[in-house]
């Protein structure tokens, strides 16, 4: 059987990649993609724990289902905001949208 730490380390690598992307990308849609990557890494951890914990109550899988539902809502609203930004600023690069920055 694959050790649990393998899954946790894979989840950590994917989460860190998502953090790096969310902090460095200029395109707002790419930032949303990085956030989806982070959410996926977290649900991988939840499902791994649901598999490896001794009692089979599957709370981890239930949590993963809720993460997927909330990620869907987040993507819809986030992309609507990006479209609104594009309509107002003619760009989706977040470092050019600095109207409220001092």
């Amino acid at each position: 059987m694959i050790p649990l730490s393998h899954y946790l380390i894979l989840g950590a690598i994917l989460f860190s990649l998502g953090v790096f992307g969310a902090l460095t990308r200029r395109n707002a849609i790419a930032i949303l993609m990085s956030i989806e990557l982070m959410l996926n890494a977290v649900s991988l951890n939840f499902i791994a724990f649901a598999r490896y914990l001794p009692q089979t109550m599957l709370q981890g899988q239930v949590f993963a289902i809720f993460i997927i539902a909330i990620a869907a809502a987040e993507a819809a609203v986030g992309l609507a905001i990006v479209l609104g930004l594009y309509r107002n600023f003619k760009t989706v690069n977040v470092d050019e949208i600095n109207l409220m920055k001092w």
Binding site: L37, R51, L53, Q61
Partner: protein, 163 residues
């Protein structure tokens, strides 16, 4: 068992490679396509973890829904002239330090903090259990999630609509 481990390593390398293309790729459309591969690799890992229902949901919602939505948004917003523009902002070094710190901390916790759990040899079929749990123990979060989805849908329509 070694076959399982080999499959895990192949899937892990594939998923991390696709995720790296998502994060570091210059072309935004290519990054979105790489995101599809990342989600598919994740779904295969879910199957490896005896979560078949979640693997199917992952493919249906992420690959079939969210990625298509992202591609639509990319097509609606990207300018042709921006293909050669910078994709990375000025805080690369700080961000790399932050991400590496998170990575080291999480790997340290995974290696040291978690006892070696082994779990049952094979989970029983999980889909009926999940359905029952969602409608009994987790009925309230289930309903709240449906209201959240409704609110998100209405909000997205209102935000994206032309005046």
């Amino acid at each position: 068992m070694t076959i399982q481990l080999g499959i895990f390593y192949i899937l892990a390398v594939f998923t991390v490679w696709a995720a790296a293309v998502v994060v570091l790729g210059k072309n935004i459309v290519r990054a979105a396509v790489a995101l599809i591969f990342t989600f598919c690799g994740m779904a295969a890992l879910y199957v490896l973890l005896d979560a078949e229902f979640l693997a199917a949901v992952q493919v249906l919602i992420y690959v079939g829904g969210i990625t298509i939505l992202l591609l639509f948004a990319i097509m609606l917003t990207s300018r042709i002239s921006s293909a050669t523009a910078r994709v990375i902002n000025d805080q690369v070094v700080l961000s790399a330090i932050a991400a590496a710190g998170i990575l080291v901390g999480l790997i340290y916790a995974a290696m040291r903090g978690i006892p070696a759990l082994s779990g049952p040899p094979r989970l029983p079929e999980t889909t009926p259990f999940l359905g029952r749990a969602l409608l009994t123990t987790y009925a309230l979060p289930f309903e709240v999630a449906s209201i959240l989805l409704l609110a998100g849908m209405v909000g997205a329509i209102i935000l994206a609509r032309k005046e």
